[in-house]
């Protein structure tokens, strides 16, 4: 048993780290009857088909279509499978039951894997059945039933996508993760002595940009959201008491915590430690901006940096033992790393950038730091520094200014902001620079954070 578990862990690491399809590893699997993992032809990833889910009751048609479409998008987003374009199988009549899946037809269009899904609705209640078949062996490798309300059909698709990615690729999918960002879209004016200022509120959305909604209503400036590791809280800084202070919003309870309460010094850019117990942040309480750390409730405040230059924008390493941050101690902003316990062992990370800011440490198994590096007098591009090799690769290439990268929890994607599409908007992109996707379109949107 223990050995099997070790095997599974190593398999997960291998798949995540190399993005390769471990064919031989499957063959060692000690489950003779049903091979759960569906492979492709030779070296290629398996081809997936997702026909429209079947409406098992008359009023379920729209939900069934939404679920199959969103499932398609979710699976396409991770790029683990080749998704056969829907046009290719328009002519294949959808199976009415899992016993009627036309495997021969699916084989003809080159499918290795095909879904069958059905949706039953009664009033606000929905029951969704999902199966995944290996087209070659005609065996069912995944079968689940979900029930819930009809309010957000996308969530059924996200749940299926995450479970299929986990089963088939040992991958932690991001379909149920969320983004948080700052937006001025409401075009509300700041109350107070200056008339012509637009307030900025904190927003939360699904990872794909659906269900965007506001979580602050302060009619003030709110900046730099960051997620707690349990994805239940968003920390941010708010100017409601003139100087920015750190607030932690338990977004599903409508409860607000205030770990800092000053009216004279600023406390901003909060980021949770990987275990959620501490918050690193930036404050000018000792005269200029330095990096501090405190417990989540505001107790046990400790200073980490001590330099006449400015220090800001902290990000934790995945094990919580180091913090990368920005300092302009050489005259220009650059990224540095220090020990999180006491601020010791400071070393410069970015040595070939004219300017670099907003470092974001990748989750394991990747070992890299993304940041915004200046590439023109007016703008930045997203770059990634591999810690093991020191190699730097550029992810965006001068289309507008590209800033504020934030890793997805599985490390395969980044959210960032770009001015390429009018205003400042949030985008996501693969860590390989492929798969650009625009998330926001309304107002200006900035400093995204990606939840677990």
């Amino acid at each position: 048993m223990k050995r099997l578990r070790t095997h599974a862990v190593l398999l997960a690491i291998l798949v995540a780290a190399t993005g390769l399809w471990p064919l031989a590893a499957q063959n060692q699997n000690q489950q003779p009857e049903i091979e759960l993992v569906i492979g492709g032809d030779g070296n290629s990833p398996p081809h997936y088909a997702i026909p429209d889910f079947v409406a098992a009751s008359a009023d379920a048609t729209e939900i069934a279509q939404t679920i199959s479409q969103v499932l398609w998008d979710d699976l396409a987003f991770e790029r683990e499978f080749d998704l056969i374009p829907r046009d290719v199988y328009k002519s294949i009549p959808p199976a009415r039951s899992p016993e009627q899946v036309p495997f021969a037809s699916w084989r003809e269009v080159g499918a290795d894997a095909v879904f069958f899904g059905s949706v039953q609705r009664s009033g606000d209640k929905v029951v969704v059945q999902v199966r995944l078949f290996n087209v070659r062996t005609r065996q069912q490798v995944f079968s689940k039933e979900y029930s819930g309300t009809a309010s957000n059909p996308r969530l059924y698709a996200h749940t299926v996508a995450d479970e299929v990615h986990l089963q088939q690729r040992a991958l932690k999918g991001v379909a149920r993760t969320k983004l948080s960002f700052v937006s001025d879209r409401n075009r509300e004016r700041l109350l107070g002595p200056i008339d012509n200022r637009e307030v900025k509120e904190i927003y939360v959305s699904d990872y794909d940009g659906a269900n965007q909604r506001r979580i602050t209503t302060t009619r003030q400036l709110n900046l730099n959201p960051s997620w707690s590791p349990d994805a239940k809280s968003v920390a941010y800084s708010s100017y409601r008491n003139l100087t920015p202070q750190i607030f932690v919003s338990l977004i599903y309870q409508g409860v607000l915590e205030t770990p800092t309460k000053s009216t004279t010094v600023s406390n901003m850019m909060p980021v949770f430690s990987p275990d959620g117990s501490k918050i690193a942040f930036v404050t000018n309480r000792d005269g200029n901006t330095e990096i501090y750390v405190m417990n989540r409730d505001g107790s046990n405040v400790r200073r980490l940096t001590n330099h006449p230059a400015y220090e800001s924008t902290p990000t934790w390493s995945p094990n919580g033992q180091q913090i990368a941050f920005t300092s302009d101690r050489t005259g220009k902003a650059q990224v540095y790393i220090m020990n999180a316990a006491d601020g010791s062992n400071v070393r410069r990370l970015t040595v070939s950038e004219s300017e670099a800011d907003r470092a974001t440490w990748s989750p394991a198994p990747f070992n890299e730091i993304a940041y915004a590096g200046r590439t023109s007098s007016n703008g930045f591009d997203i770059k990634i520094h591999e810690l093991a090799t020191g190699m730097v690769r550029q992810i965006t290439f001068g289309e507008g200014s590209n800033e504020s990268p934030a890793y997805s929890p599985n490390g395969k994607h980044l959210a960032f902001t770009s001015t390429r599409a009018g205003g400042t908007q949030v985008f996501t992109i693969g860590r390989d620079g492929r798969g650009l996707k625009q998330i926001t379109r309304s107002g200006n949107n900035q400093t995204p954070a990606w939840s677990q």
Binding site: Q28, L155, G379
Partner: protein, 192 residues
């Protein structure tokens, strides 16, 4: 000893798994398992297994917090026609130049004539730095102005500082004219 043996087993497994994986990255000719395309599909004798126990999917949406900001409107008119003038900065600098010092000196005179006024010094930046860096730069601009005003005799407790980075540009355009207006220390009367 035990842990070394465990490591050995783990490495052996890892290498077993890694070997074919490496082959796949380089498309050199290596023996591959015969493709199973031609093989006839096995006869399925049993219907697909029914789903396991139903899983509950719950949709949770965040609840917004209620409004909690009350603004003091009585100072609006005073600030709209403010006797305090903004000081401007050059790119990426928080140093007050001669023109800036002259403006701040004039503001100090106004404050000395109105000893009950309390003022907030706002630091602002143009859009060419990152949002994060500009929050720090704006803070430094506001702090530089406060230091200078204190040196001219204003009590520090009458001066508060805040940085707005590039969040509140005075001119929304994307050119040098706008940028030069947006690199400023702005003065707001917060008590009189």
């Amino acid at each position: 000893m035990l842990s070394i043996r465990g490591l050995g087993i783990a490495l052996a497994i890892a290498s077993l798994m890694a070997a074919p994986a490496c082959n796949r990255r380089k498309p050199v000719v290596t023996p591959q398992p015969a493709p199973s395309v031609e093989a006839p599909p096995p006869v399925v004798t049993q219907p697909p297994a029914p789903p396991r126990a139903t899983e509950r999917v719950e949709d949770r949406q965040p609840a917004p917090l209620s409004e909690d900001t009350v603004a003091d409107r009585s100072l609006d008119e005073l600030n709209r026609n403010s006797p305090l003038r903004p000081a401007f900065f050059v790119l990426d600098s928080s140093d007050l130049d001669d023109a800036g010092r002259s403006v701040v000196t004039g503001n100090v005179d106004v404050l000395k004539k109105n000893p009950q006024w309390v003022v907030t010094i706002e630091g602002h930046c143009d859009e060419r730095g990152t949002a994060e860096y500009n929050l720090a730069l704006g803070e430094r601009r506001a702090a530089a102005v406060k230091t200078y005003m204190v040196s001219l005799g204003i009590a520090p407790d009458r001066l508060r500082t805040v940085s707005y980075g590039k969040e509140f540009p005075f001119d929304q355009a994307h050119n040098e004219d706008a940028w030069s207006k947006n690199r400023r220390a702005h003065f707001v009367i917060t008590a009189k």
